[in-house]
Subunit: 318 residues, 2 copies
DNA sequence: AGCCTTTAGGACAGTTAGTGGCCTCAATCG
DNA sequence: CGATTGAGGCCACTAACTGTCCTAAAGGCT
């Protein structure tokens, strides 16, 4: 085995089990103990921190250092990572969507086909988990997302079918620039070759993207900021409700139910809950769970919704 | 730069951008073109698939091969992966909890402290996301989880404080064996040194775990199956309701709202929804969302719950 | 303290592997 | 067709690696 291959193998061993006696490592790598010590030294020269314990039951241990060593993953671990990243990309944690897609692109691009199949099988289980697939939770197909991300990364022209709001599907040929996650939606900022101008596309309306394999000289985006471009392009955000409800319950109870999705301010004998939502299911759920008397201050649509559920449940009870 | 270091760097370059012209790679690695070609060959000998395109605008490209190459991640990517895995470990996708923790342990153990801090900051945003932190969604503190997982992996004895159901907190000293995810809970199977017997511990009742750094000869678990051991140890599962509701709506509408958490069977003029749950909030939410008339067949507790919400909402409306 | 185990690392000599320069081919694209 | 870019054989030179043998140093155990 060549030296580089052996170093990778050594790193892999050190990553799967904390302590390794020197002679066992040497045996596994089929080298003498002296060479093993030299290999360990080489790792240290590369910047990885390898602790050594002397004496009976001593051994080597890879520790956290200044930078992350190359991750050597088992197949199942890679699948778990990919599945986890897909959720993160779909907005389950605010602020890391873009990075998640970036990492996901990397992982998926390197996964052997069999792992990709395994991942797809698992992925089909994940949808509709968060508040039952309400309208604002249309998670984007992550295979489309990663295709677009890869094209952005590699500056590859793309073909796809785009169905704009209330329009016929049309075929597009674009030079992709960047993916942007805004609210719960993904947008692709790209230069449209046919229309000869910059556009932003909602990813959930993109179908059948395929990279052409060609390359081109990346253009400058006007203004230099993809995020700003997308924001400017969105004329009306999806309808948003500003919810205000007074609840006769302890502020902490309410805060626990609503998490970070709303603001709770103490009030005499109860509290005021404020949140901005796209879908009224969510506040209804919170109110049902808190289980205390409340008064809806706004919006009127929520009052209607509360009345609807009340009537519905009353009929069911009778 | 040594050969091994250069190979890692080459792998890293090939992972971040799809196409690389040969001369640019050679320049970055500070070697001649000839040596670069040899390096590429070395990668291929290690089993990685490197495509090459000749001619104008040619270059090299790392493709999916038979096995996953070492992942060379940017700092932010590692953080995204860790955050995603934490969610996966907490049961957001059935069946990959154990593997996720395994991968998480690996990643966290290698992350420099600064990244760990970054990750902690993000993690604090993730809780209470899925149906509002209901009682069955007490997600386990992932730092405890990974400490235990690491101890299992490395056969390190553990100290921790355990608060059994309805008992005083007690100090435990155990030889950890395996982590098991069952339903929505984590259990640690371990040999209790003081009591000299095998026990299973609910991870959400474990506090302040610390590894001693010693090691021991792993024991055989009686029966050889940690999962079976845990199942045998659970006298009564958390109270579980078998929900049966007839709904006057199209089966598909109901199926979309309930996802894979319940079974929907068509029925004349509507459908029958059956699901097993620990917490009645969940079916209430589904019913509110479907928005069609329904009749609760069982359990009686759900009827009570529906009546409660109905009354509550009616008062709010008036 | 004394002993055993295990890592640390210098010295040496033989061997291997890596390197750049030079050459000729072979694709690919315009 | 010609320009460009990867493929790879050959060669001489050098640097790096390897195993053996050695002594030292650090823990843990009795």
């Amino acid at each position: 085995m060549s030296t580089s291959a052996r170093m990778l193998r050594l790193l892999s061993l050190l990553q799967t089990h904390r302590y390794w006696p020197g002679d066992e490592l040497a045996e596994r790598l089929e080298v003498s103990g002296r060479t093993l010590r030299r290999d360990i030294d080489r790792l240290r020269e590369l910047g990885y921190v390898v602790d050594a314990v002397r004496g009976v039951a001593g051994g080597y241990q890879l520790r956290a250092g200044g930078s992350l060593p190359p991750l050597l993953l088992e197949d199942e671990e890679a699948v778990a990572i990919a599945v986890g990243l897909q959720q993160a990309a779909n907005g389950s944690v605010a602020g890391i969507e873009e990075t998640s897609v970036q990492a996901l692109t990397k992982v998926i691009g390197l996964m052997p086909p069999r792992l990709r199949r395994q991942m797809d099988a698992l992925r089909s289980q994940t949808d509709n988990l968060v508040w039952g697939g309400g309208p604002q939770n249309q998670s984007v197909d992550s295979s489309i997302l990663t295709t677009l991300a890869q094209a952005c990364r590699d500056d590859e022209p793309l073909h796809f079918t785009y169905t704009a709001r209330g329009a016929e599907p049309s075929e597009r040929w674009v030079e992709p620039h960047r993916l942007v996650s805004l609210g719960r939606r993904w947008y692709l900022v790209a230069y449209d070759r046919d229309r000869q101008d910059w556009r932003s596309f909602r990813v959930d309306r993109v179908a059948g993207p395929r990279a052409t394999g060609q390359r081109y000289r990346p253009r400058e985006i006007p203004g230099g900021d993809a995020l700003a471009f997308v924001q400017a392009g969105i004329r009306r955000m999806p309808q948003r409700y500003d919810v205000r409800v007074r609840i006769a319950a302890h502020p902490e109870t309410v805060a626990r139910a609503v998490g970070r999705w709303g603001e709770v301010t103490p009030d005499d004998g109860g509290c005021l809950l404020e949140m901005g939502v796209d879908d009224l299911q969510w506040p209804v759920m919170v109110l049902a769970q808190v289980g205390a008397d409340f008064t809806v201050e706004s919006p009127d649509e929520l009052t209607v919704e509360v009345a609807r559920v009340s009537g519905l449940f009353a009929r069911a009870g009778g």
